[in-house]
Subunit: 242 residues, 2 copies
Amino acid sequence: MSSMSSVPVPGIVGGLGPASTVDYYNGIITEYRKAVQQDVYPRIVINSVNMTDITADVAAKSYGSLTAKLETAVQQLKNAGADFALIASNTPHVVFDELEKVSPLPLISIVDATVSHTVARGWKRVLFTGTLFTMNNTFYPEKFAKAGIDCVMPAPEDRERIHHIIFPDLEAGIVTPEMKARFYEICNPIINSAADAGKPVDAVVLGCTELPLLIHDGDIPLPLVNTAAVHISAVVKRMRCQ
Amino acid sequence: MSSMSSVPVPGIVGGLGPASTVDYYNGIITEYRKAVQQDVYPRIVINSVNMTDITADVAAKSYGSLTAKLETAVQQLKNAGADFALIASNTPHVVFDELEKVSPLPLISIVDATVSHTVARGWKRVLFTGTLFTMNNTFYPEKFAKAGIDCVMPAPEDRERIHHIIFPDLEAGIVTPEMKARFYEICNPIINSAADAGKPVDAVVLGCTELPLLIHDGDIPLPLVNTAAVHISAVVKRMRCQ
């Protein structure tokens, strides 16, 4: 297919974790095929790295080492013929700005994609949920603030409670109605008190690629932002707009 | 993990189809982690190619073109740092011997892995099932014959019937008890008449990476050879024996 050879090839830094990588792989293929309405499959390169190695850097806040490892991973994707790259996980985006400066390929950020998605819908304030690491960092709220969007972070004790829905159960693929109810019980008072204070929240961001396994539209009385799905859409858009 | 940097990196020629690629990816990670009993993840590179492009070559018997495309795909995996490669599908193995001659990386063949697995169990005669394309070709029976194993191929009408269990339903992920019963109804008379003729079959080879979605141990009164699982085990063995 000569027409396929000009389609930009996405390179996925994967394995962070593997379940999320599979979601991205299936999601990119499905969304691309739906968009072009042809019986073709886009070329995709995946470089699945050692998750334990990356999470050790994250835990130790060894951001220089983390950036260097991701740079190497992107270089390997470039060597295989990828035209642009993405990291299929929220957490490593803590070093996205540093990585972008040294990256041998253009990168598509899950944070930027999420902010653009929010801006496009005219939302002004979002409640952010994710792992403790992501909630305790500033890489999401800073990017939202630059776009004029207020990013409400749960209070410290609520961050712990959200984190312990994700770890260890959800991360291990366990999904129960009780876990879903717990998530709702944490978010609902935050949403209500924001409304009571005259600063209503417009949407809830699922800032962890595992949360959409648990929480679906209708579970919370507000629109949800599935960051992995938004990231995949940005990737497919890039593949189609050269 | 300095110990991880010396683990040989498998490169998967994937997308043929995507569901099978995901099985290989998950399978290699799971089996490797089980084998080493450590919280590490092996690096894996996947080059997912355009399936439509490959199946067009297969249908047209354009084997020179098919070999050249697979050679390019393996070269891209090598460029990304893969140390050896595999094709996550039975069908393209029709050109395996030609590919091996020009391949820039050592390759692990699903056919060789299946034959070795059969030899190791002391089996002398196997019933082969797969797609019409694979059953109508000689790349499996020839390799079995070299190892002194008799490979029974279904009669032409049975090949058609087996093929139409795989296409379109099983290939699209559809699995019903009726399809399973149909597979049994095709294989059972072949197994019985081989036994009646004094040439009993020792095992049934599932020579299509989708068949294990439908047929499991116990469905047929003989051992099954899951070619994808056997291939994955050979890959993990290679990663562990440098």
